[in-house]
Symmetry: C2
């Protein structure tokens, strides 16, 4: 009877044409730190090893991807993404341990909200 | 250690400068039906018995208040607000039983999300 639709950072459950929707995000001192889009960008960087490729896969401009990363690196206790410059890996980027942890924590947060949305029958 | 801040339709919990935020709303066939602002408008109409006074108390234009009400009345199973025209009550508005029920249901939905946000320590 219920259909659950999940999009980046949000959850919804549907009954008789009505759907409950929820969005979840984390702020630091009132500024956006982690949300669905930002965490997806981190995931793609982890997958693809490149900010340009990650941005492209999300149809996000490179400039915006950099602004998001810059903001996350600044607001996090330590940088989430670091550029691997020089040598064979020049131009590549990777997640730090803090970056991997941020993804895990956000995913678990979102999962709890999705569970609640699913419960709302 | 935790501060909980609640605004219309959203919840947040704070720790060490980081805060988890959630927003919840109900759609009908993909269109916004009930959210924090709309439910506050319903509550104010119930309190003040007038759309104009309710809009004013929220610093909302009368036109926007009407658009919200029109949309809610159209998307709900039955109208949530009705105008009491003629006689002593001319120009006044009141909530229908469906309107009161919509407030209660939305409040309970929001409460459950707030509880979850508070748990996230």
């Amino acid at each position: 009877m219920f259909k659950v639709r999940k999009t980046s950072g949000s959850s919804s459950t549907k009954t008789l044409g009505y759907s409950v929707n929820a969005r979840v995000w984390v702020e630091k001192d009132g500024e956006l730190y982690l949300g669905g889009g930002r965490v997806m960008l981190l995931e793609k960087i982890g997958e693809l090893g490149s900010i340009a490729a990650a941005a492209r896969s999300m149809k996000l401009s490179y400039r915006n991807a950099w602004l998001w990363i810059d903001s996350m690196n600044r607001l996090a206790p330590g940088p989430l993404v670091e550029k691997a410059t020089g040598g064979e890996k020049g131009g590549h980027a990777r997640l730090t341990e803090a970056g991997k942890k941020a993804i895990t924590e956000y995913r678990s947060l979102r999962e709890r909200f999705s569970e609640l949305v699913k419960e709302l029958k």
